[in-house]
């Protein structure tokens, strides 16, 4: 891909991000931060490429450390988001007083 195609994807993704994030309910802003943390660790792709390539040991070890760090984030980020989201419940138990938004 040439630079302009990549730039186009980037700019459009910024707009998508803008609208998607504004639609996130404020009650879920903490899970939003946790999950953005997890997905920004997609940088693991770069670390994997470095770790996988043969030939330059320094790059390989930097890549491996990068893989460790990004994995902490991926597993930790998704797991803690899942844990938080599981706690958000609607009112259901006392069905006696209904009708207040």
């Amino acid at each position: 891909m040439d630079f302009i195609s990549i730039l186009s994807i980037f700019v459009l993704a910024c707009f998508v991000g803008y609208y998607v994030v504004w639609s996130v309910t404020p009650a879920l802003h903490t899970p939003l931060m946790a999950v953005t943390n997890a997905i920004s660790s997609v940088i693991i792709v770069g670390a994997l490429i470095a770790a996988a390539a043969a030939g330059v040991p320094a790059a390989k070890w930097l890549g491996l450390i990068g893989v460790v760090l990004a994995s902490v984030n991926i597993f930790g980020g998704f797991a803690v988001t899942e844990r938080m989201l599981a706690m958000y419940k609607k009112k259901e138990r006392p069905a006696k007083e209904g009708g207040k938004s």
């Binding site: 891909m1 990549i6 980037f10 700019v11 993704a13 998508v16 991000g17 803008y18 998607v20 994030v21 639609s23 996130v24 309910t25 404020p26 009650a27 802003h29 903490t30 899970p31 939003l32 931060m33 953005t36 943390n37 997890a38 920004s40 660790s41 997609v42 940088i43 693991i44 792709v45 770069g46 994997l48 490429i49 470095a50 770790a51 996988a52 390539a53 030939g55 330059v56 790059a59 930097l62 491996l64 990068g66 760090l69 990004a70 994995s71 902490v72 984030n73 597993f75 930790g76 998704f78 797991a79 803690v80 988001t81 899942e82 989201l85 419940k89 609607k90 009112k91 207040k100 938004s101």
Partner: protein, 492 residues
């Protein structure tokens, strides 16, 4: 897309050749994973769809990782698997064990890891450009790739050191009060300018000589330093903005590395995360009526010299209430609104507070929670704590949605909040918090205000007129103990 154009790998040498499993489906797979990440954030528009969104995010990550692994010739699969297992194990255990009150620290720590990972990837690309397809025919790294690498490394380094400081401040390893260096604006701007100039020079120089190499390292070092310098002057109360801002940086770092790797998943994700952090910072700043620049410039919450109220007026008369008073008044009320703040998190009072609402509901009282956008130490902090304590999310309201109700409310119950209920924000133009949107608790018939002592003021360092109002009763105690006592009298 025509992957073949960049993939004419023959010139790049043997190392580069390993990476060229030319397959248009690779680009599609990364695109799919990017789209799944968009859906992950989209799911967060409502708690009912959020968990499905999180699953999408996991699948997206799995696709990105598997695609990378199957399309590259891997010289060290065991090492990689061990690295993933170590990191994944650590992350998983932390995620299971962490207390919900410690979420701001955790998020700051995670940001620092993303930042450091970005730096490491940029350094690895610098050492082994062939593996990343960024080597030109002349044996030099492409100029545009050099800019992307330098930017990725710099933003990553700023994210790392900034997040480490934010973590230390949030976790109490470091005082939350701002540390002000003399001439810090000059130092910061000078360092930033140096990074930008060096990045330009790094891109423009086309010889891979030692001079060029040292430029890259100087950029990285300067970026580590500036991340540190940027965050130390920012006080504890501004941490929600800082955490959001670092969130944004970690996204831009990922995006910059995505440009280097020509990887759609990384670019889409970076843009999403960057936008997310930027919007959260904006929401936080708006909720404090402060400009982003003034937050970044730091110093707020020191001993703000300006401001009318001042903390010197504590000799004004105020009324002390007891747990029994609070229990009696609330059980007689039709509607009670609870305003939690950071103090509730510190006292871990969310569970006893939920018990209190249950007892009140049994008596037919309507109980609602009102949450200010900057309550706590990160966006949405209070919502998570209340969710943890099993408070249904449809009883928790945002500022705009509930502020009109205080005039028809019998009891406003303030627990661990202060500045967000200060009427000076509406009336006193000289107050440092003037213009900040606040809860109009002063319109409620009765106010109970849980506070440790009368001496302390909020983080903004301003006195609060609500303490001295006729309908206010101060409950001076630890928040958790006080609520427990109230629960006892309610149960009787």
């Amino acid at each position: 897309m025509a992957p073949a154009t960049v993939e004419s790998a023959v010139d790049y040498g043997a190392v580069a050749e390993a990476v060229h499993a030319v397959n248009p489906w690779v680009a599609v797979a990364y695109l799919v994973s990017g789209v799944l990440f968009i859906l992950a954030l989209r799911g967060l528009s409502s708690p009912s769809t959020s968990r499905q969104g999180n699953r999408f995010g996991m699948i997206g990550m799995l696709i990105a990782v598997v695609t990378t692994l199957v399309t590259h010739e891997i010289a060290s699969l065991p090492e990689i698997l061990v690295a993933v297992a170590i990191g994944g194990g650590i992350g998983f255990v932390i995620a299971r064990r962490i207390a919900m009150t410690a979420m701001p620290q955790l998020v700051a720590a995670f940001h620092s890891l993303v930042g450091l990972a970005a730096v490491l990837v940029a350094m690895a690309a610098f050492f082994n450009p062939g593996a990343f397809d960024i080597l030109g025919a002349d044996g030099n790294i492409f100029a545009v790739s050099r800019i992307e690498m330098a930017l990725g490394a710099a933003i990553g380094a700023i994210t790392f050191s900034g997040s480490v400081i934010a973590f230390a401040k949030l976790n109490g390893n470091m005082s939350g009060s701002p540390i002000m260096l003399p001439a810090r604006h000059v130092i910061n701007l000078g360092t930033l300018a140096a990074i930008i100039v060096l990045t330009g020079l790094f891109a423009a120089s086309d010889a891979a000589g030692p001079g060029e190499n040292s430029m890259f390292w100087i950029i990285v070092i300067l970026a580590f330093v500036i991340g540190f310098l940027l965050i130390i002057p920012i006080g504890g109360a501004d941490m929600p903005v800082v955490v959001s801002m670092l969130n944004s940086y970690s996204g831009w770092a990922a995006a910059a590395m995505g440009f280097t790797l020509h990887n759609t998943a990384m670019i889409i994700t970076g843009a999403l995360v960057g936008a997310s952090g930027a919007i959260l910072s904006y929401i936080m700043c708006r909720a404090m009526n402060r400009s982003f620049i003034s937050v970044i410039a730091g110093g707020f919450g020191a001993d703000s010299g300006g401001g009318g109220g001042g903390a010197a007026q504590t000799d004004r008369p105020w009324k002390r209430g007891s747990a029994e008073d609070a229990a009696f008044m609330m059980s007689q009320a039709e509607q009670v609104i609870i305003i939690p703040g950071y103090g509730m998190a510190v006292a871990q009072a969310q569970h006893v507070l939920r018990e209190m609402t249950d007892l009140l509901k049994e008596k037919g009282v309507t109980v609602k929670f009102a949450i200010h956008p900057v309550a706590g130490r990160m966006p949405g902090h209070m919502n998570v704590l209340l969710a943890e304590a099993n408070v249904p999310y449809d009883e928790v309201f945002e500022l705009e949605d509930i502020n009109g109700e205080f005039s028809q409310t019998d009891v406003a119950f303030v627990i661990g909040a202060n500045d967000v209920v200060n009427p000076a924000a509406r009336t006193d133009k000289s107050s440092p918090i003037y213009g900040m949107p606040v809860f109009d608790v002063d319109k409620a018939k009765t106010i109970f205000f849980i506070k440790r002592s009368m001496g302390g003021v909020g983080y903004a360092g301003v006195d609060n007129d609500v303490f001295y109002m006729d309908q206010t009763m101060m409950l001076l105690s630890d928040a958790k103990k006080m609520v427990e006592e109230i629960n006892k009298s309610l149960a009787d």
